[in-house]
């Protein structure tokens, strides 16, 4: 990659200004967040500039960050990029977390592992431009040629005369210099900060328990509110019996709210699992929790929507999935002549994989503060996508968008769940009704049973083999309730002449939402298990088999819509193979591998699985990733380690299921999460060393873990694992002699 060739779109221009009190401000457009044309005083600009860096007189540098933070560490990684090009000590760079300003931003979103990828070119350009302006200002002051000035860690240096100036000393002068149109970006080889490891900037606050999260927020006169939703999906509240509740200590009010305006056309993030919710408002969390137990709901079955009048059960879902696998699906991609390939096959291998609904289980349950008055609303909330919910809030509250301010709190985990803002609407509606500031809190049970789950999925793969045991056809029929996880243009599409991908879905009253690498988090494990089994059926080494397919996709790709780079895909698999050869497999374990590409990043994983306390236990896991240039090395490793542990946990234990519409797991005593004694003893993470622009880290390694675990279980037990969570099958087939679990 030639760093100079980064192209910026029309809107991504820069503008300098003098800071009040001295110093320089360089405004620019954050690419993830397109500014709206609403700033009246920016008449000469086509668009308003939505972000900035400031260089203060004392040399401090401020970066204004519009991306919400939920543990992915953008609050640390983004300033590293800026500091690199600006050539300052990164500890001089501070991040100012943007609140949500609907009048300034059209799009403020954290998700899809896109923060670094989108910010990369503009932050580099902004940093390099500011640096160049500081050099120009120093050249004027010293009356020396620009080329004779160098910079290092926030200091300008003219070597010939041995004069030095700190950035802050020329920042005011630099502010009046015309913004250069062209600046030279650093060569990747010269990076000092990018690729190093910088600690989470919130570390001190986290380890000393400072208030950081919405649930910690407090305002004078604030009341506590909790919701009570119908027990079952597909039910609606018709009335409540609240006489006993109203007399309980600390209780202020009890009522039913409607979560959406009448006849409101929902956008995709308006997932409201229930149109009506009962609400109890009181002085303290404990008092409201007690009152909740006494509230009686009267319910009836939904008259509209998917499955009106019916309550769903997991057993019924399974029957539907089996039926769908036999019916023709919607053809999403067809290459060559798959029907003939299967008709002429000597052997057909067919396998079906399934996975249950999953609960996000963010460690911080839903929480939202709202203070709604007659003419304005202020919220404090954990939300990945504030933009979408503002429209809903505006319609529901009857307030113009610009009167709604959302302060973006640090999120106690997101994993996709906090893209959905139902809690903001609920808190705001409650505050509007009781005319007081309110903090809405969900109990763990409220959240685990509210919905917005990862859907339940099923995939049936078929492979046609000819008399020479060669793969001649591939057929994927993939679907889910209520959404299909099929990505028809992903590998192995492009590597097989005769290919057919079909999709299906069946509606449901159970609500779903994005969950760490949506869709991929199931299909990767299914496909990678199938390829592993297929390789052995073809008497090939599973890694060699994948590399063969990728070689074919590279040299003679089938179709022109394949959405992966076969070279980079093969690259992570080779890197993993090299590292695997060096990593001794612990005694008594089985080793499985898997690879996947999603969210612009390539990932391959290996797990060595053994037995501990009569249950499968991953002793060691190794990952190889190609996410281009790694910005914050240790933070990237941390996130990869987390994705491995999270993937192992969900593969073995993760499950929500339903009887008569009622979710059966509502807290961590029934919903099993991976714990310390189940976390691998040893983890290794490797990155492909290249100069590609950086891509996402949060999601891509999570999906292949499911395949690696299943493949390792096969090596360990001799049995294939087709249905998640895998622990169930393992326990059914490996009854412990003592029947005791530690």
């Amino acid at each position: 990659m030639n760093a100079d060739k980064i192209t910026l779109d029309r809107r991504s221009f820069l503008k300098a200004a003098l800071l009040a009190g001295g110093g320089m401000m360089l405004q620019f457009n954050w690419p993830e967040v397109m500014a709206m044309d609403l700033e009246n005083n920016a008449a000469e600009d086509a668009v308003a500039l939505n972000s900035y860096i400031k260089i203060h007189l004392d040399g401090r540098v401020t970066l204004f960050n519009p991306n919400p933070e939920f543990g992915q560490n953008v609050k640390t990684s983004l300033p590293m990029i800026l500091a690199e090009e600006l050539d300052v000590d990164w500890e001089q760079v501070e991040v100012e977390q943007a609140d949500f300003f609907p009048e300034r931003f059209e799009r403020q979103f954290t998700g899809g592992s896109q923060a670094i990828r989108r910010a990369w070119p503009i932050l580099r350009k902004a940093g390099a431009t500011a640096r160049q302006m500081l050099i120009l200002a120093a050249a004027q002051q010293w009356a020396v040629p620009v080329a004779e000035i160098s910079t290092s860690e926030g200091v300008l240096h003219h070597q010939k005369s041995n004069r030095k100036l700190r950035y802050g000393e020329v920042a005011s002068a630099a502010a009046s210099i015309a913004v250069p149109q062209e600046v030279k970006l650093k060569d990747v080889a010269d990076f000092k900060i990018i690729g190093s490891s910088k600690r989470n900037v919130e570390m001190d606050n986290i380890i000393t328990g400072k208030p950081l999260f919405t649930s910690d927020y407090k305002k004078e006169g604030m009341l506590i509110a909790m919701i009570i939703h119908p027990q079952a999906f597909g039910q609606e509240i018709t009335a409540i019996t609240d006489t006993a509740v109203r007399q309980m200590p600390g209780i202020k009010d009890v009522f039913v709210i409607e979560t959406l305006p009448k006849d409101y056309k929902k956008n995709s993030f308006d997932v409201m699992s229930f149109e009506k919710l009962a609400v109890i408002v009181g002085n303290s969390t404990w008092e409201v929790m007690q009152a909740k137990k006494k509230l009686v709901l009267e319910l009836h079955a939904n008259k509209g929507g998917p499955r009106a009048g019916l309550l769903e059960s997991t057993a019924g879902h399974h029957a539907e999935m089996e039926q769908q696998a036999k019916l023709p699906g919607q053809v999403k991609r067809r290459d060559g002549d798959p029907e003939t390939a299967f008709k002429n096959a000597s052997r057909i291998i067919e396998r079906t994989y399934t996975a249950p609904f999953l609960v996000h289980n963010t460690m911080e349950p839903v929480s939202c503060f709202a203070d709604v008055t007659a003419d304005a609303a202020e919220l404090y909330a954990p939300i990945q996508a504030p933009e979408f919910i503002t429209r809903t809030l505006s319609a529901r509250l009857g307030l113009p968008k610009e009167k709604i301010k959302i302060n973006l709190a640090r999120m106690g985990g997101g994993f996709g769940l906090r893209a959905y803002g139902h809690h903001l609407v609920e808190a705001a509606v409650i505050s509007q009704k009781i005319k007081a500031p309110v903090k809405l809190i969900y109990t763990r049970e409220d959240e685990a049973t509210y919905g917005i789950y990862r859907p339940t999925y099923s995939a049936t793969f078929r492979a046609a083999l000819d008399e020479n045991n060669q793969l001649t056809g591939f057929h994927a029929k993939v679907g889910g309730i209520p959404e299909s996880p099929l990505h028809e243009n992903r590998f192995p599409a492009g590597a097989i002449d005769n290919y057919l991908a079909e999709s299906w879905s069946v509606g449901s009253a159970i609500t779903i939402g994005a969950f760490r690498a949506p869709g991929s988090n199931f299909i990767a494990g299914a496909e990678q298990s199938f390829l592993d089994e297929l390789a052995l059926e073809m008497k090939k080494d599973p890694i060699d088999f994948r590399l063969e397919l990728l070689k074919r996709a590279k040299e003679r790709p089938v179709g022109d819509k394949n959405d992966y780079d076969a070279d980079r895909y093969a690259g992570v698999i080779r890197l993993l193979r090299d590292k695997a050869q060096l990593a001794k497999k612990p005694v008594g374990t089985g080793r499985g591998v898997a690879a996947y590409y999603c969210h612009n990043t390539y990932a391959a994983a290996l797990v060595d699985i053994g037995v501990k306390n009569n249950e499968p236990y991953v002793r060691q896991a190794i990952a190889a990733m190609d996410c281009g240039i790694v910005v914050n090395k240790d933070a990237a490793v941390n996130m990869a380690e987390g994705a491995m542990v999270d993937g192992i946990g969900n593969a073995l234990y993760g499950e929500q299921f339903f009887i008569d519409g009622i979710p059966q797991k509502n807290n961590f005593n029934s919903y099993r999460m991976i714990r310390m004694n189940e976390a691998p003893e040893h983890l290794e993470v490797y990155f492909v060393d290249n100069e590609e622009n950086p891509t996402g880290m949060g999601e891509p390694l999570f999906p292949p873990m499911f395949g690696a675990v299943a493949n390792a279980l096969y090596r360990q037990t001799g049995k294939r694992y087709y249905h998640q969570p895998y622990l169930k099958q393992y326990l059914a087939e490996n009854k412990p002699a003592t029947g005791k679990r530690a």
Binding site: R199, M203, I206, I207, G209, K210, E641, N677
Partner: protein, 155 residues
């Protein structure tokens, strides 16, 4: 008058004695470092020290706490420099950060009881603390590091 000492400060208790300590800390005296995660003693986000023992404040009723000494994450060290806090920083443990007050409070009791814990000791002491971000291997490393710091007297 019923009182408890929290982080070396005396508090008068004028609340429902059936209420768990967690809500006294969070709602009544503004110590929000201790987190609510599950309310049923399953996740460990609410761990505090009660007379030196690690307890889950979400199920520890006020009547059990009266007259006793409580330490929360805010009171673990004066300057955020408990060996565990220093090790947590050095190993760069947290992602979202929500569970870590509880993790550190559980680990602090472990380190006092077993200054040189094995991985098994860590499993035993820390299995009650869930981290959805999956930072367990770093937590383990940080505990070992804090143990080494304690031994070398480097605090």
């Amino acid at each position: 008058m019923d009182t408890i000492r929290i982080n070396k400060k005396e508090y008068t208790v004028a609340v429902d004695k059936e209420m768990p300590l967690l809500w006294f800390l969070r709602d009544h005296i503004g110590l929000t470092g201790t987190k609510y995660g599950c309310g049923v003693a399953q996740c460990g986000a609410c761990v505090v020290h009660l007379d030196g023992e690690a307890v889950r404040s979400c199920v520890t009723k006020m009547k059990r706490v009266i007259g006793k000494e409580v330490v929360t994450i805010e009171g673990l060290s004066e300057k955020g420099d408990h060996p565990l806090q220093l090790a947590w920083k050095d190993v760069d443990v947290p992602q979202c950060g929500y569970c870590h007050a509880g993790q550190i409070m559980s680990a602090a009791v472990l380190l006092r009881e077993r200054p040189d814990p094995t991985d098994e000791d860590i499993d035993d002491a820390m299995t009650g603390n869930i981290c959805r971000c999956g930072t367990y291997t770093r937590i383990r490393e940080a505990i070992h590091q804090a143990s080494a710091m304690q031994k070398n007297g480097s605090r």
